[in-house]
Symmetry: C2
């Protein structure tokens, strides 16, 4: 029993941490609850219910549950996908149904319908393997298959197919509109803003690593115990950057669906963010190489030529500190959406000078920095 | 018009390539079409249709469209999630409905129901931010919210709620069973097998890069034009490995749901694969550092001390070739599920010897190799 209590306490702490890390998560949960409660009003109010029909009202609830996403861009992307896929598939399904009904034989209709459904489902499923469709319209394709099969197949039984289709379309539209309105007007979470904050935060992490490297590894105090501790802290600073690609891709994909807001226009160049992100990752890869070099040396306890080491120590410290400063400056520039100041270039040229004499030691440390500078402007 | 024709030809070529790259994709499309056609038989056959009811039959179609995934593990994971979430949410929804019906005031019932729906939807939405739930049960939570709201809300109108819930559950079970049967018995695509093949393929790519590096960059022929061309080819060999984490995580997640098949037991240690994958990526990061070092040197046209270069050239060539061979040997060992042969260890120790003299040049190249060796056994 005590064991269970401990576990519950642990879980509670974890949930609290998740909420504290990003309070918008709690807000989002309330928004989702609000959207579903709002849509369920259709059930309780008599005139609304009778005008839409019982089974159609279900579809409004279903739409809200599936479409509501954390970011406004995500909700918009899913909502637009759902609406257009339903429209297109509904029209095609009606056409297929009419075509099959022309068949003279009584067994002809279900067979023809099955063939249509089979062909369209197979083709649509295959189209999901195209990377561009997978990235932006995957949900739309699912809905397309679903609606087409339903309309085509249920046409065999239902009499008033067109009325049914229109009812369903209107409930889906109501569901999508509710979700979109709530996610845009009630404490909106913009994917674009998240992306805009994520990049400089990542660059700052790299800067923090380099400056820490200067202080701890190349710096004055080389006490062994402390280094080990600090090193593991340092590593944790840049590690998340290595695998930032999926998050960035997702955010950029959602950001493209968002209307203009704040200082971002509708055609804000989100693709450039992906480029800067890729360069940031390249920097992080080099840091991974450096830190694994350091840890190998530590483990194998190879005491290299100490004189040589002392000789390069100062230059290395200079280089990583300057590069770190240049990166921090870059991060600020991206945040404020301006061209990086000359200070960054100054830091960078200092770093380059220091690295000239060190070419052989830390090969790629600042290889990609000039590129970041270029594409950030 | 010509423009349109060109575009169509291009699209056709692209689709053909996608199919050729992995013929199982075409098979999967047919399987999806087959599953939907099979389920639509429920509509055409009179006794089946009347026993299940009109709106419930819809749910079978919906289930098949949503649950059918490329890998058997994916289908199983979604199907199991869907079934259990429906069961749990249905029971809770019924309980909430009964509780609300106890209210004496006539307006009390809808208000109580709204409060229940709001609270449960908000809590379930929040639980999706827990990483463990997000990774394995995200789909289940969606279905849970959906079913709970539907059952609780529609109880306000429907008379025979329990009969309806049972009908729906049985159609969902039929849909899930169809999907699972088709994806396990008709040309199954196992996520576990894919993962088992992906890892050695990735390691082979790294080996290929290192051996190419030895041949082209450190090798005899240093013609400038050719190097540039080869270098871009070389880079393309390991680039995909850098971002392999999401794919591996997904496959490992699905593989855990799969029953034993071929030489994989039910409790095959899929987590170890993730570890080896992480080490492989670490190797790839080092290669990224090396190749960006090379390209920087090329762009800045710094002609470094040629004598020194000649001196280290041979040792470098030796090192990267041996490391490459060790990696290739490792890949074969993983494929055949055996301990790497001593040949790999031999290659590795050769490489280490060569690298001893070169510590300063290519810092982390084989830092993580011994770890790979360890965890592969």
């Amino acid at each position: 029993f005590q064991n269970l209590k401990d576990k519950a306490a642990k879980l509670g702490k974890k949930l609290k941490k998740i909420g504290k890390d990003d309070p918008r998560r709690i807000l989002h949960s309330f928004k989702a609850g609000l959207a579903i409660s709002l849509i369920s009003i259709f059930y309780y109010v008599n005139p609304l219910f009778t005008s839409l029909g019982s089974s159609s009202t279900m579809w409004a609830v279903l739409t809200v549950v599936v479409v509501m996403e954390f970011t406004a861009g995500g909700t918009l992307s899913k909502g637009i996908n759902r609406t257009f896929a339903t429209l297109l598939a509904g029209a095609l399904g009606l056409a297929a149904q009419r075509l099959a009904a022309l068949s003279s034989h009584s067994a002809g209709e279900p067979i023809l319908l099955s063939v249509f459904v089979f062909l369209l489902a197979a083709m649509a499923t295959f189209s999901r393997f195209v990377p561009e469709i997978k990235a932006r319209y995957d949900y739309g394709v699912t809905i397309f298959i679903l609606t087409f099969s339903m309309v085509a197949v249920s046409g065999y039984r239902e009499e008033e197919l067109i009325k049914l289709a229109l009812q369903r379309l209107s409930t889906i539209a109501i569901g999508v509109a509710t979700c979109v309105a709530i996610s845009i007007f009630v404490f909106p979470v913009w994917a674009g803003e998240d992306l805009h904050n994520l990049l400089p935060a990542n660059i700052d992490k790299l800067a923090c690593f380099l400056e820490g490297l200067e202080r701890e590894y190349f710096g004055e105090k080389m006490g062994s115990g402390q280094i080990l501790e600090e090193a593991s802290f340092l590593i944790s600073t840049y590690k998340p950057v290595l695998n930032s690609k999926p998050t960035e891709d997702l955010l950029a994909n959602f950001a493209r669906w968002e209307p203009g807001h704040g200082c971002f226009g509708f055609c804000h160049p989100w693709k450039l963010y992906l480029k800067v992100g890729a360069l940031t990752r390249q920097c992080a890869y080099s840091m991974e190489a450096i830190s694994s070099h350091i840890s190998t040396n530590k483990n194998s306890k190879v005491i290299t030529d100490t004189e040589f080491r002392e000789m390069i120590r100062i230059a290395c410290a200079e280089m990583s500190s300057k590069t770190g400063k240049a990166l921090a400056e870059l991060a600020t520039a991206i945040r404020q959406m301006r061209t990086p100041s000359t200070a960054a270039a100054q830091h960078l040229s200092n770093a380059t000078t220091a690295s000239e004499s060190l070419k052989t030691l830390s090969p790629a440390k600042d290889a990609s920095l000039p590129e970041i500078l270029q594409s950030a402007t």
